[in-house]
């Protein structure tokens, strides 16, 4: 277990800069989710930490000890690959014992620790199977047990649940979270899935184009992202261009193009160009006009998409402003049925609107 620090980490192949100054700290025993679009450098970051590639410059340290230059097999890093990378010619127990054998752990202790690790991932009954005789989810757990049993300094998971179906994925997420918390190992989990990132980790780092854009707790990052790009990456959002028209004591008014004026809770000087971000679930959707309320927008439904627990409404105002709203579905009530062409009113609280500079 260790604190992990990456500072000013750069990695280039030829003239191509893949990582450009990655700075990241993962506190001891916590789990950080590394999130970012495909090709932004997540796997490369993990490969630098694991020691498979040498960074062009910058430093990596475990508990303050620099590890750049230490070969991969001496770093004591636990790795779980997206395709599991189990040894096909070894049984489950032999796979898990592999790292212990390399550490010359005595046979009795080795057996004991393998059994414990398999119990942790609930595979103790399948110890003698070969990887090809197991399902994807089971192989994934073997791979996790194999990485955990060596008591690594840090655990790196590269899209560990990517190959699993939705249901198994949800199940494994819960299990992964329990195992990470119980073992208390410093963990980085790479994922494409923002929901997974938000639910699994203590902190989330969003990476764009070889750089960490923002780091924060799941709640702050989702509710108050520091930039429009992060907001858009972490879920559906409405981004509106506007200009501050008047400042008040408890906020200011923003004029959206030539249509509506929205009240926000930030104090902004008049004339400033800004971008507003509104999460679709922050809109209150009503069919009756909410008389006398602030931030109410009249619009017509142009598309309805049912998403199980909620329904997504694509609406358009008379001035041509397109918005996405979301509404939870409760019960099987008929009043939750929206149709294309229907008039609705969207209302949003001033403090639910995020303001980004432009």
């Amino acid at each position: 277990m260790a604190r992990l620090d990456l500072s000013d980490l750069c990695f280039s192949v030829g003239a191509l800069d893949i990582l450009r100054s990655v700075n990241l700290t993962v506190e001891e025993g916590t789990c950080l989710a590394l999130l970012g679009p495909s090709g932004c450098g997540k796997t490369t970051t993990l490969r630098c930490i694991a020691g498979f590639v040498q960074p062009t410059s910058g430093s990596i340290s475990f508990n303050g000890q620099p590890v750049v230059g230490v070969p991969a097999h001496k770093r004591n890093v636990g790795l779980v690959f997206q395709d599991y990378a189990l040894f096909p010619h070894m049984t489950v127990a032999e796979n898990v014992a592999y790292g212990l054998k390399r550490r010359s752990v005595p046979a009795a202790e080795c057996k004991q620790r393998v059994a414990e690790a398999l119990e942790l991932v609930q595979l103790d009954t399948l110890a003698d199977r070969l990887p090809r005789q197991m399902s994807g989810g089971q192989q994934q757990r073997v791979s996790l047990a194999r990485a955990l049993v060596i008591r690594p300094n840090v655990l790196l998971l590269d899209e560990p649940l990517g190959a699993l179906d939705r249901k198994l994925r949800d199940q494994m997420q819960v299990e992964l979270k329990r195992i990470q918390r119980d073992s208390g190992i410093t963990t980085i989990i790479v994922t494409h899935d923002q929901e997974e990132a938000l639910s699994l980790s203590d902190r989330v780092a969003v990476m764009f184009d070889g750089q960490i854009q923002e780091v924060g707790t799941p709640t702050t990052l989702y509710r108050e992202p520091g930039s429009r790009a992060v907001m858009e990456f972490l879920g559906a959002s409405n981004i509106l261009d506007g200009t501050a028209v008047s400042a008040e004591q408890d906020g200011s008014h923003i004029k959206i193009r030539d249509s509506h004026t929205l009240k926000v809770s930030d104090a902004l000087e008049s004339g400033r160009d800004v971008q507003l971000g509104i999460r679709p679930e922050q809109f209150l959707v009503e069919t009756e006009s909410p008389v006398g309320r602030e931030n109410s927008i009249a619009a017509t439904i142009s598309e309805v998409v049912y998403k199980g627990p909620h329904v997504e409404l694509y609406v358009e105002t008379e001035q041509g402003l397109r918005l996405l709203a979301q509404r939870r579905i409760r019960g099987i009530a008929a009043q939750d049925t929206f149709v294309i062409g229907q008039s609705v009113f969207l209302t949003v609280e001033p403090d639910a609107i995020l303001v980004f500079g432009r």
Binding site: L79, F87, P88, H89
Partner: protein
């Protein structure tokens, strides 16, 4: 649906025709070897085991078979070890001339064996090692070098290189990774490559004929010498035994190491 039936029919006919084509000469050899008469006749009119007893009378057959076994074992072993390096280089690394080397080793171009035999013998005379064990082993290595490269490359392309990184993250250094992960993974390719090389060397005639002289002789050469002077079915008896032993070895290796799965995937 009738297309499906026609397609199957054609595949079946071709499959059985190929089988017959491969198996028929073996059956003829088998029957002839039990022939009761002195001359080769088919089908035989009487049966005996006489030609099996007569195998011992083929000139130098024991010695020649032993030499062939030794040459094939040495050549196949050396070539397989070299092929391991070559295959890794071809699959994993970039180097000058890679494309040329790859197409030379992996394309099914038939090597003009007689031309190579002539070239080799001249080369060995220059080096003053012609008609020695060295020249015979080296000649056979040239003959069989490409086969293990092909089978090992095939097994490498089926294999996930991440498992080597997994092993190294678990504490294995480069050598340990090679012994515990790479080598076991490549085993089917290595074994089938070795077998190919061994078998091709073991019954090679055209290269050997240029490279042997005097006491240094090989099984196919002595067998051919016998055939050119005698007309009895003794060589058929020898061939039947040979085919039987080889088939047993291949069956055993296949069962033990699943060499077939090389092409079918596991």
């Amino acid at each position: 649906m009738s297309e499906e039936r026609d397609f199957r029919l054609v595949v079946n006919v071709l499959g059985w025709a190929a089988m017959a084509f491969l198996v028929f000469p073996v059956i003829v050899t088998l029957l002839v070897s039990f022939n009761g008469s002195f001359f080769i006749e088919f089908p035989p009119s009487s049966y005996s085991l006489e030609w099996y007893r007569n195998i011992a009378n083929i000139n130098k057959i024991g010695e020649a078979t032993l030499i062939s076994l030794l040459i094939a074992t040495i050549a196949a072993t050396l070539v397989t070890v070299m092929a391991l390096g070559t295959a890794m280089a071809i699959v994993r690394y970039d180097f000058a001339g890679k494309a040329a080397l790859t197409s030379f080793l992996l394309s099914p171009v038939a090597v003009p064996i007689v031309a190579i035999g002539i070239a080799l013998v001249q080369f060995f005379i220059r080096l003053d090692i012609a008609f020695t064990w060295y020249s015979l082993v080296i000649g056979h290595m040239v003959l069989v070098a490409a086969y293990p490269v092909r089978t090992i490359v095939a097994s490498m392309t089926l294999y996930n290189p991440n498992i080597e990184e997994a092993a190294s993250s678990l504490g294995a250094n480069r050598w340990v990774v090679f012994w515990t992960v790479t080598l076991p993974q490549l085993k089917p390719g290595i074994i089938s490559g070795f077998l190919f090389a061994f078998l091709i060397s073991f019954d090679n005639y055209p290269i050997s004929i240029f490279l042997v002289r005097g006491g240094l002789t090989t099984m196919p050469i002595e067998l051919f010498n016998y055939i050119s002077q005698n007309f009895d079915p003794t060589p058929a008896a020898f061939s039947t035994l040979y085919i039987l032993i080889i088939s047993l070895v291949i069956m055993f290796v296949e069962k033990r190491y699943q060499v077939i799965s090389l092409s079918v995937g596991r």
